[in-house]
C-alpha cells in the first residue's frame, strides 16, 4: 500500500473553487448523454447463444419418443440435488426412458452441469434454455414436472 499525497492546490484554484466547478461540469455533460439503462419489461435484454437460463427438457426428431434415457447422471452430478428422475422401459426400442422428471427451480443454481453430463445424442435431453424469468407467486410453482419442462408456461409479459 502506498500513501498518495494530494497535490497542493494553487491559489487560483482555491479561490475560485475550480475543482468544484469542474466536477459540476462533468455531471452537466452527463445530463445530456443517452441513458445506458434499458427499460426492462418493455425492452428485453439481448440474449447471447451461450446464456444459461433455467434447464429444460427437449426431444429430437431423429430419436423416436422421449430423448431422455433416465440414466440419472444429471441427478447425480447436480450440486443442489434439484433433479429427480424415474425411468420406465422404452415404448419403442430398447433401454429406458424418463417416466417422472422433476426439477426444482427453487434450488437450481443454473450451473449447467446437467447439460454437460447428459449422454444423449445428437443433442442433450436436458439443456439450458434462454428463459430467465423465474418469479412465481407460489413456491410450489417452482417445482416443475416433465410436462412443464417440455412446454413451459410462457411468463406473462409485463408491458407498461
Amino acid at each position: 500500500m502506498s500513501v498518495v499525497q494530494r497535490p497542493e492546490l494553487s491559489l487560483w484554484k482555491r479561490l475560485f473553487l475550480v475543482e468544484l466547478l469542474q466536477g459540476m461540469a462533468v455531471t452537466f455533460r452527463h445530463w445530456w448523454r443517452k441513458p445506458t439503462t434499458e427499460q426492462y419489461p418493455k425492452e428485453r435484454p439481448k440474449i447471447l447463444p451461450r446464456f444459461r437460463g433455467i434447464p429444460k427438457l427437449q426431444d429430437h426428431p431423429d430419436v423416436e419418443g422421449i430423448l431422455c434415457i433416465a440414466c440419472n447422471q444429471c441427478s447425480i452430478i447436480c450440486p443442489d440435488d434439484c433433479i429427480t428422475v424415474l425411468g420406465e422401459p422404452r415404448t419403442v426400442g430398447k433401454g429406458k426412458q424418463a417416466k417422472v422428471f422433476i426439477l426444482d427451480y427453487e434450488r437450481c443454481c443454473l450451473c449447467g452441469l446437467c447439460e454437460e453430463v447428459c449422454p444423449t445424442t445428437p443433442v442433450p435431453a436436458i439443456f439450458m434454455s434462454h428463459e430467465y424469468e423465474l418469479a412465481r407467486y407460489k413456491r410450489v410453482d417452482l417445482m416443475n414436472d416433465m410436462k412443464e419442462l417440455y412446454e413451459p408456461q410462457p411468463t406473462k409479459e409485463y408491458l407498461k
Binding site: 468544484l20 459540476m24 462533468v26 452527463h30 445530456w32 443517452k34 441513458p35 439503462t37
Partner: protein
C-alpha cells in the same frame, strides 16, 4: 365591519389555502424532477412507469405514503413522536406568508355569491399574505424553529441512529444559521428595509438585481456574488441537503432522524424538507435575483418587452408575468440544488463544522464590511 372581516380574515384564508395547495403540488413535482434530473446525470432514465415518462409518479408516491401502516416504536415517547413531524411542517409553511410571488395586485370587483345571496365588496388581493415590516427577520426566526422537529423526532424515537442524526442536525443547523444571517445583512443594507416586498421594490428602483450591484461603477465587480454563494451554501446546509446531508446520511445512520418514521408522519417530514428547499430558492430569488422582476431586467428595451408579455390581459397579465419570472428563477435555483446533490460526495462531520465556523462566518463578516465600505465610498 363585514368588509374588514373579509379583507382581514377571508382573503388571507383563501391566500393561505392557495399557497399551501400550490406548494404541495410543487413539492410533488420537485421530487419527480429531482429523481429525473439525478437519473439523467447518472445516465439513467428515472421513473418511467406511472404516466408519460413518470409524470404521475408523485401521485402514486403520495397514495402509497398515505396508505402505509404507521409504525410507532414500543419505547417511543408517543406524543412527542406524533407532534415532531407537525413541528417540522408548521414553520416550513408559515414562512411562505411573507414571500411576495408577484408585484402587481389583483383587483376583484364587487360580486354576489349566488345561492346565499352574499354581497362581497370590491377587494384588492395581493400575492403575499402579509407584507411584514420585519419580513426577513420573520423568515429567519420561523425557519430556525424547524430544528425542533428534527431534534424531537430523533429523541422520541428512542433509537441510537435517530438520536445521532438529530444531534448532528441540530448542531449543523445552529452553526449554519449564523452565515445565513450574515449573508443577508448586505442585502438589508442595500435595500434599507427588511420587508421582502420592499427589497424587490428597491431592486426595481435601483434598476438591477442586487446580485449585479456594481459598486463604484466598476461593471464586473459584483460583491453580492459572494453573498449569493454564502447564502446558497448555508441554505443547502440548513435544509440538510447533499452534500451536507449528514443528519440523514443513509450509509451511516440508516435514515437519521426519521429512521423510526413511516406512513403519514414520514410524508410530513419529507414534505417539510422539500418545502424548505423551495423556500430557500424563493428567498434567493427574491433577495438576489430580483423576485418577480423579469430575467431581462436592467437591459434597456428587452426589460419593457418581457416585463409584461401578456399585455392583452392588462393588470392580470403583468401579475402572471411576475409569477412566471419568479417561478423560472426558483426552478433554476432548485435545479442547481439538485445538481449539487448529483455531483458532490458528502462532507465529513468535522469538515462540515470547520467549513461553517472557520470559512463561512469570517467570509460573511468580511462580506458585510466590504459592502458597507463600498456603500460609504459611493456615498
Amino acid at each position: 365591519m363585514k368588509e374588514q372581516l373579509i379583507q382581514y380574515l377571508a382573503v388571507p384564508m383563501l391566500q393561505i389555502a392557495a399557497i399551501i395547495g400550490v406548494m404541495l403540488l410543487c413539492v410533488m413535482y420537485l421530487v419527480l424532477w429531482e429523481r429525473k434530473l439525478i437519473a439523467f446525470m447518472q445516465v439513467r432514465m428515472g421513473p418511467m412507469r406511472v404516466g408519460y415518462h413518470g409524470l404521475l409518479q408523485p401521485i402514486a408516491d403520495v397514495v402509497k405514503l398515505l396508505l402505509k401502516e404507521d409504525v410507532v416504536p414500543k419505547a417511543a415517547d408517543r406524543w412527542v413522536h406524533l407532534i415532531s413531524p407537525i413541528i417540522l411542517m408548521i414553520p416550513a409553511l408559515a414562512c411562505f406568508a411573507v414571500i411576495p410571488f408577484t408585484g402587481t395586485s389583483f383587483e376583484v370587483g364587487a360580486f354576489t355569491i349566488p345561492l346565499v345571496n352574499y354581497d362581497v365588496p370590491a377587494l384588492t388581493v395581493t400575492s403575499w399574505v402579509a407584507d411584514l415590516n420585519i419580513g426577513l427577520l420573520y423568515f429567519l426566526a420561523i425557519s430556525s424553529l424547524g430544528v425542533y422537529g428534527l431534534v424531537l423526532a430523533g429523541w422520541s424515537s428512542n433509537s441510537k441512529y435517530s438520536m445521532l442524526g438529530s444531534l448532528r442536525s441540530a448542531a449543523q443547523m445552529i452553526s449554519y444559521e449564523v452565515p445565513l444571517g450574515l449573508s443577508i445583512v448586505a442585502i438589508l443594507m442595500l435595500s434599507g428595509t427588511a420587508s421582502l416586498v420592499g427589497i424587490v421594490e428597491a431592486q426595481q428602483e435601483a434598476g438591477h438585481w442586487w446580485l449585479f450591484w456594481a459598486p463604484l461603477g466598476v461593471p464586473l465587480l459584483w460583491p453580492q456574488f459572494i453573498g449569493l454563494f454564502l447564502y446558497f451554501v448555508a441554505a443547502v446546509a440548513e435544509t440538510n441537503r447533499a452534500p451536507f446531508d449528514l443528519p440523514e446520511a443513509e450509509t451511516e445512520l440508516v435514515a437519521g432522524f426519521h429512521t423510526e418514521y413511516s406512513g403519514m408522519k414520514f410524508a410530513f417530514m419529507f414534505l417539510a424538507e422539500y418545502l424548505n428547499m423551495i423556500l430557500a430558492a424563493l428567498i434567493v430569488s427574491v433577495l438576489f435575483l430580483g423576485g418577480w422582476l423579469p430575467v431581462t431586467f436592467g437591459i434597456p428595451g428587452l426589460s419593457e418587452l418581457f416585463g409584461n408579455f401578456l399585455p392583452f390581459l392588462g393588470g392580470a397579465g403583468a401579475a402572471i408575468t411576475g409569477f412566471f419570472w419568479l417561478a423560472l428563477k426558483v426552478f433554476l435555483v432548485l435545479t442547481v440544488y439538485l445538481w449539487l446533490r448529483a455531483t458532490f460526495p458528502r462532507y465529513r462531520y468535522d469538515q462540515l463544522m470547520s467549513l461553517g465556523w472557520k470559512w463561512l462566518i469570517p467570509m460573511g463578516l468580511a462580506h458585510v464590511m466590504v459592502t458597507a465600505l463600498f456603500m460609504l465610498l459611493r456615498g
